[in-house]
Symmetry: C2
Subunit: 343 residues, 2 copies
């Protein structure tokens, strides 16, 4: 790439091909569509939309709906094209070239990309032999390298580990760095503590419509923080990034979050079942509070799944992440693995 | 903003409040909605969408539709959240800190923001007393400062000046820099030469669905260039930035571009009329090949328009930009100005 600057030459872009046929368990998507009421309400609103006008760049109605859901002030919210855009904006706003962002590893691969995009360095704190992260290791590393940015993903993608509110507070209180709390999967976990960001100067919580809310198609995420941090994000993020239709759908989804509760509980139950069954089949699996399970398996099982058009996420020839699908989808996955194990 | 890096402290974010009542001539939006066929077709397709799946990050169907429209290869296209996202990606991909991007001034204000976001410097070549840019001035400045990036907006926002294909080729051929050709308003001009980017190593053309295609609500733009430059853009831009619905609407709009032709011709006629009438009223106006007219007027006229809920774009107390609206809207604007002049 002739015109690409030298510092970008080693960047590995994220890529995932669209799969339209088969059982898709590779992207942590929900196996259900949003409740029909939400879709119908949104379609009706779209009938009155001026397609020829820019979206509301202040996302007033959407921010109000999110604020109402959490009983907070709309001024403490900003929305973006997935929480990805908002995370990227924070990396850009805070980090100078050669600054350091600290997180756990393995975690969401885009943190490293966001750091590289500003010429900063991402350092990852590793877990133990069971990929279990230790909060004290993080706190020690913070003291050692004094990063400008700390990113915590809870539950962590791809390992599934959930950090308790207490542990997260310990990390926050151990540092002057800005702490980005990526809670994309927290609706599947024990407790959603996204509002703790309002108690500190140095925390921004990120949530998304792409996981429990079953709306990755609209590419919408939001963050919650004090007014000063929200001002920073709004100053740096692109104007008009979120389309009118995405704003409408997101507003109606969060205003009817209760309608999702049964579906979310089903996923949690299926997660427990999948975990147990995979373990019974002899696979190494790790405790997860998200809608996926991290597992170690021989590549032959992955190939066998592929042969049956069942798609899971492959990191290398040992590490895989399986999204919790519907009961039927999970049964089909287990059936293929069962046969393969018995071969 | 406590956590914002020092180099960003002087950044002035772009902001525009949503206006829902009155005559909106401040954002270069089309005064017409997209043809009904396009909306209906899109709504039908949306009935079959899996809301719970990520959009196609390769935008295959949309790129194919754009390629068909221009009779080019889909591999020469990339789409983004407005051409804004794609321009931003190019600034990020090419410029290191302290590098220089060159353009004309005044032009689209985001070029300067994109440069600042990567710690680079935007230098603007000024026009003559009539805000008329001279291509030789640009070529001389290129020789003098040897920039890494050159941005040409044709027709230029906000002055309306159109650069002929010949002039643009002269600029391109005078430099080894990457030339970004922002053609957001070219559908209102004499000739759309966006495909010339395929004849050079160093050119990327940018077009948008937000202007002539009357779809700012979907936030979609695209660029055309050789495979190497498209690879660079795809490596740096965010995965999954464009929502499923935006992709569907954009695909149907470009597949039916012919349906827009009459509307575009109407705007061109209204532009000529508005230009003549404003001139007759004694205002300083500048030739435009876009869907807006740059004008110098005393602030009292702007206030009078505001009093009548007619919104035009104000740059300072002398410089304004008026979007060409519908015949009725333009008549109302002219009527208010006529009364104000006669006072």
């Amino acid at each position: 790439m002739k015109y690409m600057k030298k510092s970008f030459s080693k960047m590995v872009p994220y890529h995932s091909k669209l799969i339209t046929d088969g059982i898709i368990l590779n992207a942590n998507e929900a196996p259900y569509n949003p409740p029909l009421e939400i879709i119908e309400l949104s379609k009706e609103e779209m009938n009155n939309v001026d397609y020829n006008r820019y979206p509301d760049m202040d996302e007033v109605l959407l921010n109000e709906a999110i604020a109402k859901c959490y009983k907070i002030d709309p001024a403490n919210i900003s929305c973006g094209v997935g929480s990805d855009e908002l995370l990227d904006v924070c990396f850009r706003a805070v980090l100078e070239k050669d600054d350091i962002a600290l997180g756990f590893t393995p975690s969401f691969s885009m943190y490293q990309v966001f750091a590289e995009l500003v010429g900063a360095k991402f350092i990852g704190v590793k877990g133990d032999d069971n990929y279990l992260f230790n909060v004290d290791d993080m706190i020690n590393k913070i003291k050692e390298i004094n990063p400008k940015l700390v990113v915590i993903c809870s539950p962590n993608n791809p390992t599934g580990q959930y950090f308790s509110e207490k542990d997260v507070r310990r990390i926050i209180e151990s540092t002057n760095a800005l702490v980005l709390l990526d809670l994309a999967y927290i609706d599947f976990a024990e407790k959603d503590y996204c509002k703790i960001s309002l108690e500190y100067d140095n925390v921004i919580s990120f949530k998304t419509f792409s996981k429990a809310m079953a709306l990755p198609s609209i590419r919408c995420g939001y963050c919650i923080s004090n007014k000063d941090n929200i001002d920073m994000i709004n100053a740096v993020k692109a104007p008009y990034s979120l389309s009118t239709f995405s704003q409408i759908l997101a507003k109606n989804a969060i205003s009817n979050f209760d309608l999702y509760k049964d579906k979310i509980n089903e996923i949690k139950k299926e997660r427990q079942r999948l975990f147990k069954e995979l373990k019974n089949l002899g696979f190494v699996v790790f405790n997860s509070e998200a809608n996926f399970i991290y597992t170690l398996m021989d590549e032959k099982y992955y190939q066998e799944l592929l042969n049956n058009k069942i798609y899971i996420r492959r990191f290398d020839n040992l590490h895989y992440r399986i999204t919790v699908g519907s009961q039927t989808e999970n049964n089909m996955l287990l059936e293929v693995l069962r046969c393969a194990v018995q071969k």
